[in-house]
């Protein structure tokens, strides 16, 4: 499962930032995960505690913020909400929809002490 390596990247980024900020510990890490990204938030949360163990991030809470999916339909000429990757435009049924949001995978911020 690649959630494990994604979690490793999250912890690595958090450890680097904590070191740079001179933090003693990390209490909370907030990540943005798009609803259309190929990542299962529950799997991230499951891996997080295990990966953080033994690092400055140990014991921190992982908060996963879901970013809703959106795309630009070139037939309708506007941005529409999409629930699934490569799904048709909900208004015209066409497939010429370019994803514009929902693919995010980002460490947004963290709380340190």
């Amino acid at each position: 499962m690649h959630e494990m390596s994604l979690t490793e990247s999250i912890v690595e980024i958090a450890v680097e930032t904590a070191r740079k900020e001179g933090a003693e510990r990390v209490t909370r890490v907030v990540v943005d995960v798009g609803q259309l990204s190929h990542v299962e938030p529950e799997a991230l949360e499951f891996c997080f505690a295990a990966v953080a163990r033994g690092t400055i991030v140990e014991g921190a809470r992982l908060e996963v913020a879901r970013v809703p999916g959106a795309g630009f339909c070139s037939d309708c000429g506007k941005t529409v909400a999409i629930a699934e990757r490569f799904s048709p435009c909900p208004e015209c049924g066409g497939f010429r929809v370019q994803m514009t949001a929902g693919d995010e995978l980002k460490v947004r911020e963290m709380e340190i002490a």
């Binding site: 499962m1 390596s5 690595e12 930032t17 490569f86 980002k106 460490v107 947004r108």
Partner: protein, 288 residues
Amino acid sequence: MCSTCGCGQAEIVLDSGKSAGAHAHDHAHDHAHDHDHHHHHDNGAIDYGNGPAGAHAPGVSQERMVAIERDIMSKNDAYARDNRRALAAKGVFALNLVSSPGSGKTTLLARTIEALKDRLPVSVVEGDQQTSNDAERIRATGAPAIQINTGKGCHLDAHMVGHAIETLDPAPNSVLFIENVGNLVCPAGFDLGEAHKVVVLSVTEGEDKPLKYPDMFVAADLMLLNKSDLLPHLDFDVGLCLANALRINPHLQTLVVSARTGEGLSAFVAWIEANAARRAAAMAKGGA
């Protein structure tokens, strides 16, 4: 996994079949890759002065939020850029072969190498969870190959591949095949520094695979529909399969091949030669 830096545990098995050493920190962090990445927002600290600790008194721990805004894939992408730069410097044309297990990637690769090796030098990075069976099959063709065993890992990442490329040291102006771990999901998200991802789908897998596993078909530039020799025995609809793939990725190029009979392989070899030449020409002009 390594709990200090968080990097995944991969053991690179060298040509001799001996282990290059289990994961250790002096190994993992003492190499040519640049671990310094850009931190555009790292200094954007937001200090909530009235945090739970309540005061700025010295010695009192004060919780505060730090803005990071860094892409989770940024580490991998930085390694991928290093790989791409190193490959470009030597004129190596790299293809990342992805598919589900059992699609016939290794057989296809062995046949392709046989057809290609008199025209271009070829080397191979093989990825599997365990065993070096595939690297041995490739070496039987005469091409140098290195096996990466990912252990528990479900995909190759750019860091592992960077080390493998250093060890393999591909010839200048050659073709490098990276055969990814058999998995139609995870390898889609990891750039290894290749020129193109090539997805292999076999006719025993079902026409709707591109719809069920779209990420891989979006990430790929070429799809090889393999095992075409079995078509007379199956109800597989080639047209429907290609239509599904093109619905997911309208820019996808497709070839129908059989690693067993050799059908379509000359087209694949021509595709490799044409794209390697195009890339070399773009490099000569100073493009990326």
